[in-house]
């Protein structure tokens, strides 16, 4: 069991470019979560899937951010027209009961 796998570990984009972050949950976990972590805001809930269906995206910025889970083996978080304030560590977690986190993707928007 490799745990939750997130790729890439680091991504650098220019302002206005698109960024796609990938998450492979633990096999058999039906719930997948995305969080954003910054020094100032701490850990912020973004969105949640159960059995691939979007359940709660109340934490997602309404513009530019979208998340999908096309199959049970991966989820993506896409940020269009990235801005410097999007710079953060984006954490994916999967759960059968407790949360198991990936190592995160550090996004730096220049």
């Amino acid at each position: 069991n490799a745990g939750v796998i997130q790729t890439p570990r680091h991504k650098v984009t220019g302002k206005g470019q698109e960024a796609t972050l990938w998450c492979e949950p633990i096999s058999g976990h039906s719930a997948v979560f995305w969080y954003r972590q910054t020094i100032v805001q701490g850990l912020e809930f973004l969105t949640y899937f159960r059995n691939q269906a979007p359940i709660d995206d109340s934490g997602m910025p309404k513009e530019r951010f979208s998340a999908q889970m096309p199959n049970q083996s991966h989820s993506t978080l896409k940020i269009q027209s990235t801005q410097p304030q999007d710079s953060a560590v984006y954490l994916c977690a999967s759960s059968a009961n407790t949360l198991y986190f990936g190592a995160g993707t550090r996004l730096s928007v220049l």
Binding site: V4, Q6, A31, F33, Y35, G42, L43, F45, Y48, R50, I55, D56, L91, A93, S95, T98, L99, Y100, F101, G102, A103, G104
Partner: protein
């Protein structure tokens, strides 16, 4: 809406010392409380969780936490810390009516000196 507060941003102790990391929450109903640890450059790892029953719960690596309804607290303790315990510790809460939505505190950075 549930909230969670960790009053200490940084705690520094020497190896072998005991430590208590504080967590207070607010919520009117039944609640899940948990602690996670994050080493630098890694994701969060689950330490322990409380929902009901014995208010003292045991976790991995000698950690334990005690729930107090009267104090609205769920403090994390360890009797004798090791340098490898240096990390950021997050307290987390979720309402049993919405258990998937876990709200994290800002974290406490534990520094263990040799």
């Amino acid at each position: 809406t549930q909230t969670v507060s960790q009053s200490d941003a940084h705690v520094t102790v020497f190896e072998g010392d005991s430590v208590e990391l504080r967590c207070n929450y607010s919520y009117g109903g039944s609640i899940y409380l948990s602690w996670y640890i994050q080493h630098h450059g890694h994701g969060l790892q689950f330490l322990l969780k409380y929902y009901s029953g014995n208010p003292v719960v045991q976790g991995v690596n000698g950690f334990e936490a005690e729930f107090s309804k009267s104090d609205s607290s769920f403090h994390l303790r360890k009797a004798s810390v090791h340098w490898s315990d240096s990390a950021v510790y997050f307290c987390a809460v979720s309402a049993d009516t919405n258990a998937y939505k876990v709200i994290f505190g800002k974290g406490t950075h534990l520094h263990v000196l040799p």
